[in-house]
């Protein structure tokens, strides 16, 4: 008796070889890993690297915001919140959109608080896209849009932007990329990685095309607060655009809260309801500690934020002036915290330049090609790093170029 039981058990336990990757879906397998990853691994192995490769502020979250987070923990606020996020936070977001852009978003059903803007972007793509729908994505752009669209079953349609247009996508380019299958357009200005911004008139021309062709717009405006020399135009503030656009924004860049993971989406009731449906199953709600911090940020954070923006602006002039002096042609980025110099004069590819600069002079930058094919020949240099480090980095880049 005992003998047969034992043999049955061992038959169940005898391990069967698993084919590598067998359990990973084809969809995921087809998605290339982020090009940034490679550089990240290289940098990890080295000491004394000055990094201009970072996509987040070098400031620590302002103290009053951290204090609010700590206090919320002390008071025991560790529960779920409404799927949409704390009502108080949504009301504050709504107020800020009215005050800054004159747009009226109902805090009850037109704003969704998410775990970072990344989640909001993913929700937007999934909420909008049917299988086979095309989504127009101007490049160079943030690395997640294309894979997110693919994962949502859509087809990303990249549109290159050029230095001669100051890396703005034109209405004309968008119009030419539209087909019967086009469902949505992605805008992300101020832009990561180029630092490009859109003028109101550029957006108005795009709005006309969008309107005429009846497509949706997903506008990632997480760098809106980091705009220098001029005010940011929110896309949904243009006539008729609120109903057909989803505005994505968050606290990572404006209030140096990257690791607290807090973003939001604002849009029509229908679109927000659709996104909330996915959000409630995937995420349930954004972390309450971060939401409490965000409430404090919106209530009392303007002073600290403006201080950071002024500091970024000084560094921006420092790095753009410095790069141009070294003969690396760099257009004036008017938003975010990136400079996007051309390295075409050196004859190296972006990857070669970035790879050798890291090995030979220990400065980390990100090759422009990571952000789309048209980013080839450029580098993304983040100036979200201290003034002293920027000066040192420029000197090292100079030494590197002289050796070429």
């Amino acid at each position: 008796m005992s003998y047969s039981r034992k043999s049955a058990a061992s038959a169940l336990l005898s391990p069967r070889d698993v084919m590598p990757g067998k359990f990973v879906s084809e969809k995921v397998r087809e998605i290339p890993p982020s090009g940034i990853r490679k550089f990240f691994d290289l940098v990890l192995e080295m000491d004394d690297v000055i990094s201009l490769g970072v996509g987040e502020p070098d400031f620590v979250t302002p103290w009053h915001i951290r204090e609010a987070c700590i206090y919320s923990l002390e008071k025991g606020f560790t529960s779920y919140t409404s799927n949409l996020g704390l009502l108080e936070l949504r009301e504050l977001i709504s107020k800020s959109y009215m005050k800054d852009y004159g747009i009226d978003y109902n805090p009850k059903n037109e704003i969704l608080v998410t775990t970072g803007v990344s989640e909001a972007a993913d929700l937007a793509f999934r909420a909008v896209t049917n299988p086979g729908d095309e989504v127009i994505i101007p490049e160079p752009c943030y690395v997640s849009y294309k894979p997110s669209v693919s994962l949502a079953g859509g087809v990303p349609v990249p549109v290159p932007t050029y230095r001669d247009d100051e890396f703005r996508v034109t209405a004309d380019q968008i119009e030419k990329s539209i087909t019967k299958k086009t469902k949505a357009l992605v805008l992300s200005y101020p832009n990561n990685p180029t630092g490009a911004v859109m003028e109101r008139k550029d957006l108005e021309e795009i709005a006309d095309v969008v309107n005429e062709n009846d497509i949706a717009v997903i506008s990632d405006e997480v760098y809106a607060r980091l705009t220098y020399d001029g005010a940011h135009t929110c896309f949904s503030s243009l006539p008729g655009m609120k109903e057909r656009s989803i505005i994505l924004n968050g606290f990572s860049k404006s209030h140096a809260m990257t690791g607290l993971r807090l973003g939001y989406a604002a849009g029509s009731e229908e679109l927000i309801a659709a996104m909330t449906k996915i959000h409630q199953y995937a995420m349930l709600c954004a972390p309450i500690t971060a939401q409490m911090g965000a409430v404090e940020a919106l209530k009392n954070g303007d002073g600290e934020m403006q201080k950071m923006v002024r500091e970024y602006n000084r560094r921006r002039r420092l790095i753009v002036g410095g790069l141009n002096k070294l003969g690396l042609d760099c257009f004036e980025p008017r938003g975010a915290f990136y400079a996007f110099p051309s390295i075409k004069s050196t004859g190296l590819t972006s990857e070669e330049f970035a790879g050798r600069l890291l090995k030979e002079e220990k400065v980390a930058v990100v090759p422009g090609s990571v952000f789309g094919e048209c980013g080839e020949g450029y580098l993304r240099c983040s100036y979200a790093t201290s003034h002293e480090e920027l000066v040192k980095a420029l000197a090292r880049i100079e030494a590197f170029i002289e050796k070429l």
């Binding site: 990240f40 990890l44 990094s51 990561n192 000084r314 002039r317 980390a364 000066v391």
Partner: protein, 159 residues
Amino acid sequence: MKEILEILESNPRIALKEIATMTGSTEAAVASKIKEMEKKGIIRKYKTVIDWEKAGEEYVYAIIELKVALRSRTGYDAIAERIARFPEVRSVRLISGDHDLSLTVRGKSMKDVAFFVAEKIATLEQVQGTVTHFVLRTYKEDGDVLFEKERSERLAVSP
């Protein structure tokens, strides 16, 4: 102008060339602006915040509160100026509340400070009374937090 002042306030040793790039101006323009502000007394002096304790120097600080009786026709300014002339006195402030003036005094030892207050300050004709608080520890000085510097632990490369 405010921009230049903000830069200098956080780092007075910065090169003119860098201020010029950061403010989108020329070196000559920045230099003349700074000179003008120095002349006008907007820029009072360039100084260094030092953690003397770390440097091994034992300084003793005390906050002294004074009650002052004004003499006819001379205001607080006159007595404040007399007190301010002593190099031992690091700061003099007119304050509201129970006392009139608040000083910070620095000396080599507690005895040093105590004698200074007893002999030089308490003996002034207008001074009616003094309260001396010895500083046991300084946590923040002139906007500079004297704890370990905060470092954000960022990844070296991120999207």
